[in-house]
Symmetry: C2
Subunit: 110 residues, 2 copies
Amino acid sequence: MEHEINDDKLDKILENLPDEELIYNLAELFKVFSDSTRVRILCVLMQSDLTVGEITKSLSMTQSAISHQLRMLKQARLVKFRRDGKNLIYSLADEHVSTIFSQTLEHIME
Amino acid sequence: MEHEINDDKLDKILENLPDEELIYNLAELFKVFSDSTRVRILCVLMQSDLTVGEITKSLSMTQSAISHQLRMLKQARLVKFRRDGKNLIYSLADEHVSTIFSQTLEHIME
DNA sequence: AATACATATGAACACATAAACATATGAAGA
DNA sequence: TCTTCATATGTTTATGTGTTCATATGTATT
């Protein structure tokens, strides 16, 4: 069984490689998913829109920690919010999160 | 528009929340995807099985850096390898990576 | 206007992590 | 066995990250 790849083939692989910027953005988005606090926030938001206080309560953490993480999720355009009096109600920005999570869970279950 | 969630509803959300361990594993897997070097390695492996030397060459990095990252990818069961003489030929462990990546790219493109 | 409540922000600290360097392992050929 | 080539591993260092604490912003109520 001989494995052989010449430079032409390597060149071809490099041509088909996505742009550096795209790869960077991909990694950046995964970085957002790479913290269990943020994953938990996304998981509760999958079930219902919630205020910051409710998220804080449900995850038993400080309000500050939650707020910092919501900031990252906002920047990644994964969540959005609307105001309701003194409260800010957060919700998922789209359904991509669910799709990505379920695909990834499939890999874990084996 | 009144937003109101009582404690019963919060309890229900907590019940439906995945196990702490599952969430942790999910975040851990995403952490593997959260570095652009590892994403690039996975991208070249999507195109062809490659030796460590070829990966090193194609990404213009030190062999040590590549080897360290391959170790993480191995631990996450994202890649596997077979021996061919002095070479180790790495390949993707399954097709989940492609699926996850394309879903995530969809979110980025908007 | 003063107060209370909900949320955001800034700084600091403890901890994690990627890359580089040096070195070790392990296979093949002389 | 000695050497060479391919890859892995241990250590160090510089940089990044999550949480906490203290404080600021902003909205509603009186």
